[in-house]
Symmetry: C2
Subunit: 406 residues, 2 copies
Amino acid sequence: MKKNIIVGQSGGPTAVINGSLYGVASEGIKNPAVGHVYGMINGIEGFLQGHYMDMEELEQSGELEAVRTTPGSFLGSCRFKLPEDLTSSVYPELFQKFEELEIGAFFYIGGNDSMDTASKLSRYAQSINSDIRFIGVPKTIDNDLVETDHTPGYGSAAKYVASTVREIAIDASVYDNKKSVTIVEIMGRHAGWLTAASVLARKFEGDNPILIYLPEVAFDQDAFIKKVEKALETTPNLVVCISEGINDGKGTFICEYASDVGVDNFGHKMLTGSGKYLENLVKDKLGVKVRSIELNVCQRCSSAHLSRVDLDEAVNAGIYAVQAALAGETGKMITFNRSRSNPYELSYGTADVNIICNAEKAFPGEWITEEGSDIGGEYLEYVLPLIQGCVEVPVKNGLPLFAYRK
Amino acid sequence: MKKNIIVGQSGGPTAVINGSLYGVASEGIKNPAVGHVYGMINGIEGFLQGHYMDMEELEQSGELEAVRTTPGSFLGSCRFKLPEDLTSSVYPELFQKFEELEIGAFFYIGGNDSMDTASKLSRYAQSINSDIRFIGVPKTIDNDLVETDHTPGYGSAAKYVASTVREIAIDASVYDNKKSVTIVEIMGRHAGWLTAASVLARKFEGDNPILIYLPEVAFDQDAFIKKVEKALETTPNLVVCISEGINDGKGTFICEYASDVGVDNFGHKMLTGSGKYLENLVKDKLGVKVRSIELNVCQRCSSAHLSRVDLDEAVNAGIYAVQAALAGETGKMITFNRSRSNPYELSYGTADVNIICNAEKAFPGEWITEEGSDIGGEYLEYVLPLIQGCVEVPVKNGLPLFAYRK
């Protein structure tokens, strides 16, 4: 008898996480070895409460195609950590539900925390000799998953950051007869991948952003002020890009110098205001006009800066996940293997999800310049293929047409 | 003998202010009645210091076409207020420079403050019997100039706001099993035109943003909290849009309840943080998860959300300005006259710049719903034609290619 499959989304949204959903659903619907395709509403947390939907209805109504180019998590998301203790009653409860729906394979689209879910479920399955297969589909604008060249979501977010910083620099330069500093704060708690993409904003050598700071380098406030002062001599409208997670290298985030911060469900420190803190610091020390800009959530969910390469790869990751499960794989995450950058060549594979969920891939030190405030090395070669191509998002009444759950 | 013309940009940038520059320059270069076309660097302020360029060089190098789709002020801008006293020495100084360059017509692309410059120069010209013609070309995302149906820059900014709020609402909804409030702060000190455009973000009736607050309506903090509480009952992930300039109706901005603010060159109060203030207020009163997002400067300079109608009209305003000057007009601003909305029909005209520089066009009260927290009436009919059509911005290496001064 053919088994059904179920797919869920977890963690923060990206511009292409629905591309992977589309990939899993369309392949599941099309593949003769698959029965029904279900979608968990609000991930594992919603599913535990009995919330799921039939993905075939979307295909029948013609909406599945719009899901492909809709940013955010169409199925809804959650930040729900399964218990470390595999003897917890939540596991038999979940597997009971899987059995009721005759689930043969489970797909979870997300980042580290979601891979943690896939890891626990696959280990529990092994412990009870269940043959349900658990596959993780990578997704994160942070690009910090190990065992894969990059992750879906990063290319579009990098393109958003590069285009937006380029526009911010133009905006900042209109009064180029007056000195000013613009500090742009970009997402990234521990890994500077997304902030690094701001280097692409330069229209020519020596253009803004002049200074770029990642969490991977200990941030020295005095050295920063000296560099800003020096840079203002040649670039009167200075743009500085920083990761939200810049820190002093001793475990204290720069924003913590200003105020206390809370902790989220997963124990991550909740960050706000490194840019604001530095704005006040520069104003105080140098007395020039300063503003700080926190790039808003659109850096993870803008459909206007979709990279075609990124979206295609997100869709393919979903398709490949279904095929891998059907081939018998479980406890794996789909990975991207790059054989060359120019011309760009990529193949898909799998890696042990247990390795991935407990690690973070930092931005390579050799791609950060010696002074710690610029990006160099082979980063451009690495990132350029990932931001190529535009995606035509359907338009209605002059605005992007997005799919939503009715 | 043929006279030369000079064009400048002033005030904040928009996505299409360079479209008008392109219009003036291309018409000036093409029109046999015009000699050379000069561009003031950093507006009247830079010109006083002797900074200008030859616009024909741009055409010869092929860069003028890229100027058309480049956001921001290609020539640089200024916020320089000419003295009220027309006997000030700055006037003969300027006219001496005009004479040296054999200027026959002067074009200034900007908002109210720029029209103030055009007004003073044309009045001074009259007082000394100079035949130099002074024409203002409208530009402002605020859409607050009188005597014109709308202003270039508004359509693209409205499209940015609508698309971005739609994406923010999607991002906010991914954890739709938890209550949350997202407050989006949109530019607009006195006029709510741009914030009103957030109504376009709704994908269906009853969709976010549920509450929209403009500066035209006195903001009542208690009533606001009650409305938020009520809206959360049916919309767990509530999105609220506010103008930066919301105020209590008695002359105090809401952000001033939190902190003191400064004053810029023109005596405008410098605003920051109405959204942040309300974020804390909601957190304090209702204890739900709240975040505030200040839309960044891209609301005025994003090339990714260019409206084709807006850009075409900006270019046409520049072309029409040159033709109006050649026809003998002076002391005028180019105006847009709409004869119908569906199908959209527009013609160009001129109005006395003296009337325009001292007035602001508020968002019509009849388009604000009775309760003061939503947009209705004929606003949709008004705004929809202005956001139609996409503009293909040239791309290089996956990113928008912008013109810049070498």
